[in-house]
Symmetry: none
Subunit: 224 residues, 2 copies
DNA sequence: TAACCGAACCAATCCTGAATTGGTTCGGAT
DNA sequence: ATCCGAACCAATTCAGGATTGGTTCGGTTA
């Protein structure tokens, strides 16, 4: 050991990083190994690493290791935060803005088997013996449309939207044994959406979805 | 074994479910155990379970088990999960589907002071001395449009989308000291969007935003 | 005295192999 | 023909140990 002043260790560490040429986000050797490789005590190395971390050159996490670049952004979008800020009216507005475009993508990208599934879910909803089962298949239908867009990010956003919707409309589940009337407004609207998707009619699907959601919105207000 | 017709097995299974009284989302015994408990072959049991699954009473997954109720959809908006499933192309597709509709809402709902802010952010982006600062003001502009929609849920979804976008396109930050050229394609596109919003022209705003994003998409491909 | 080093320990994380579980196939018995 | 048991497959879970950054403590050196 020649000189292990703080600055000497730091510069030797920078040297190592420059030489190592590791990819951005790459992982450094464990502190113990690195200390031995640089012929430095672990404490001194940690002090130097702390400096680099303060500079934003590296970031560390227990059990994971030390990595170059900046710490990746924190993970979960807080659905609870959205739920507290929003209200049923906003949820409906967001659905009317968002879901028609998802339907448009679905019309352009759905696979034949997905179209079959869409028709099946639609039928199941029509024949549902209770409101609860109807809503179950209605949900399934709307998510199938998201899956049919073949865009996992759109699907993720749709799931987020639905999670918020469920949280906001909590406790308003219709659990009556009464079944939806055979002329329930949604049935024909669903059919229009699914047929537009089957016909690869993007604009038609978006339009049909928009009409459907506006109709749902109208009935929501009537129930107040 | 008395009678193990399909319907008999099915009714015995329903009986078990009713008796077991497991909580919604609860887990059924493994097929092998359950088959033995009901004194039924596994194949027959599976046929009955398939029926229940078609009815939406239970759902199954290899390695996990069989559960009551609906298949849970990722309730947590785990951005990391989205990031891992998606790719830059999908991100662009989602933006093109989503952001024009946000712009439409913004045109209908933006307050005068928000319109002032929009113009300000647009100017700042035009005069940005570096690409990094340009992107910063570009981000600010797009989020301001989200705020102008006056729909906190739409804004939350937009933030989620942006978080994914940043994570996916990470490491491709342009940090050159060069500034965007004065005739950068985005400048006029931004202006069209902002003016459409200022004029309360929802369709125009959506259209301008769509053109803008398609243009960005095109330049992304050129850079490859 | 003060700084530094090595060693041990802690908690979070990763890793690996075994066990579990739904999905499938095949031969034999009824 | 049909059903059953057994074996196998692939996805998932689970448990234990190994790894890793964070911390503490006593001994050594300057």
């Amino acid at each position: 050991m020649i000189e292990n002043t703080d600055s000497a260790v730091l510069s030797r560490l920078r040297d190592f990083l420059a030489t190592a040429q590791l990819p951005d986000g790459g992982r450094l050797p464990p502190e113990r190994d690195l200390a031995e490789a640089l012929d430095v005590g672990r404490g001194a190395l940690r002090k130097a690493l702390a400096t680099l971390q303060a500079e934003g050159v590296v970031w560390r996490h227990v059990g994971k290791g030390t990595f170059t670049g900046e710490r990746p952004i924190d993970t979960v979008a807080d659905i609870n935060a959205m739920v507290q800020r929003t209200n049923p009216l906003e949820v409906m507005g967001a659905r009317i803005a968002f879901e028609p475009e998802v339907a448009r993508c679905a019309a352009l990208n759905a696979t034949p088997s997905q179209i079959t599934e869409l028709r099946s879910a639609m039928m199941k909803a029509q024949q549902a013996p209770t409101w609860r089962l109807y809503e179950q298949w209605d949900n399934r239908l709307h998510r199938l449309i998201g899956e049919s867009s073949q865009n996992s990010l759109l699907l993720g956003l749709l799931d987020t939207l639905n999670a918020v919707r469920r949280a906001v409309t909590w406790g308003r589940l219709r659990d009556t044994p009464v079944r939806p009337p055979p002329d329930h407004h949604s049935f024909e609207e669903h059919a229009r959406i699914v047929e537009a998707i089957a016909n690869r009619d993007g604009a038609g699907a978006a339009d049909a979805m928009r009409r459907h959601l506006r109709s749902v919105e109208g009935h929501m207000r009537d129930m107040r």
